[in-house]
């Protein structure tokens, strides 16, 4: 079979990107290899671990189970887009303040899931947080401090009464 290439245009963290990809190129590989955005990680091959989580048109999804061609015309947010003008997103600060990360490998995906959660639910309970991150596996932290990190971010956002999405794309 000849290698058909498909042109795609998408918005990543507010910036327009154009590329040509094979149909079978997974979105996570497109981000990591074509765009050299290695903040999104790969942790498994059965859509089980969530390390590859990004926000696609406002919803957190596993980018290893989406083809890049499906993202044509769509808008994505990744960990690289959280910090704006040298100011950390509340979730990044929350993870730092509450020791919500150790090796850092699950962290980008975990944070993107948390950002999407807080955009829908500004004051989630502990159970709601645990449910929201139940698709993101962590081997290092035992989740306790991740929950605290999300609660920290939630409190900070509510206190600042800022619009929850730092630059909703």
């Amino acid at each position: 079979m000849a290698e058909t290439m498909y042109p795609i245009t998408l918005t990543v963290n507010g910036e327009k990107k154009e590329a040509e990809v094979e149909a079978r190129t997974l979105l996570v590989h497109f981000l990591r290899e074509n765009l050299s955005m290695t903040g999104t990680h790969i942790g498994c091959d059965t859509t089980s671990c969530g390390a590859c989580t990004i926000i696609l048109d406002g919803r957190p999804v596993k980018s290893c189970t989406v083809f890049a061609v499906q993202a044509n015309g769509r808008s994505l947010r990744t960990v690289e887009g959280l910090e704006k003008d040298s100011k950390l997103h509340a979730i990044q600060d929350g993870f730092h303040q509450e020791h919500g990360l150790q090796c850092g490998f699950c962290t980008p995906g975990m944070m993107m899931t948390a950002v999407a959660l807080l955009e829908r639910n500004a004051a989630p309970t502990e159970l709601e947080i645990r449910q929201a991150i139940s698709g993101n596996l962590c081997r290092c932290t035992g989740y306790v401090n991740i929950v605290k990190a999300v609660q920290h971010a939630s409190a900070a956002l509510r206190e600042a009464k800022q619009p929850v999405a730092a630059g909703r794309a």
Partner: protein, 290 residues
């Protein structure tokens, strides 16, 4: 981990999708949420020559109540899970959607895909069986309504014809004294069911069971309707005696196989236990609202 090559064909509308299906000559597969198909392709257990992407087609995702409840096939599971109308009057559907895979998968997985893929481990089929739902299948030639009892033929096989696309799911209008629940036992959150039981009861004005729907997940080659269990409830007040009989019947009707989710005997016991618990909760909901 890396899928084989394929042609990507985004359909503009249903007519275009039917065209692409015909061109595919059986070698093309529909891409809806992709949360079942893409993992199979990554392990090269599925190698379709082409994927027909339905995600660009307008008007296939909706939840409308007009007497009955109509769900567009491309409705995402999270949309079903968070819909207020569904929570209020079709709580069994909310509960089913809420335990499918994990929250991230539910942002892409579709209700139609969960049915059309016909994995006996998928959760919606049992609930749809309990609800006596039906699905709309469209093709270039027209459309037909398939009662849910006729949809699941075998593992990964439905009665949809190769030129048909499932476009809508229809849930009958709930009677005034009706209610149901879906209980799923899983090894951990995000897993398929060890066994799952959907129970939906409709009561008459004397509080007796007028009709019962009991669907079973992952204890057979397809989702199963536990007909003898249903019969054991109809006409009774669903007292503990009837519940015990229905639960035992459901267990006997199930056809589990031993695997990494447990021995067959265990799964039968789980069906029995969950059926009893599901009936009790369905009864409470039918009597007093959700």
């Amino acid at each position: 981990m890396i899928p084989p090559r394929f042609d990507y064909q985004p359909a503009r509308d249903l007519a275009h999708a039917f065209q692409l299906l015909a061109q595919g000559r059986g070698e093309a597969k529909i891409l809806a949420g992709g949360q079942s198909l893409i993992p199979l392709m990554r392990f090269r257990l599925a190698s379709p020559a082409a994927l027909i992407d339905l995600n660009r087609i307008e008007g296939l995702a909706y939840i409308k109540e007009n007497g009955d409840l109509r769900i567009g096939a491309m409705t995402r599971e999270y949309e079903l899970e968070t819909n207020g109308t569904v929570k209020a009057r079709y709580a069994i559907l909310t509960e089913t959607a809420a335990v499918i895979a994990d929250p991230l998968v539910r942002n892409l997985a579709t209700v139609g895909g969960n049915l059309a893929h016909a994995d006996p481990a998928n959760d919606h089929p049992a609930t749809m069986l309990a609800l006596r739902a039906s699905v709309v299948a469209k093709s270039a030639k027209g459309e037909r309504v398939i009662p849910i009892d006729e949809l699941f033929v075998d593992t990964f096989q439905t009665s949809l014809r190769p030129d048909e696309i499932l476009t809508e799911i229809r849930i009958p209008k709930p009677a005034s004294q009706s209610g149901g629940t879906y209980l799923k036992l899983e090894r951990k959150v995000g897993d398929f069911a060890i066994a799952g039981v959907a129970a939906y009861l409709t009561l008459d004005d004397r509080g007796a069971v007028k009709s019962a729907g009991i669907g079973l997940t992952n204890v057979g080659s397809t989702a199963l309707r536990a007909k003898r269990a249903e019969a054991a409830l109809v006409g009774t007040t669903a007292d503990e005696k009837a519940i015990t009989a229905a639960a035992a019947a459901a267990a006997a009707e199930s056809q589990p196989t031993a695997d990494l989710r447990g021995p067959a005997d265990y799964k039968r016991d789980v069906v029995r236990v969950l059926t009893a618990r599901a009936i009790r909760r369905a009864l409470a909901r039918a009597k007093g609202g959700s």
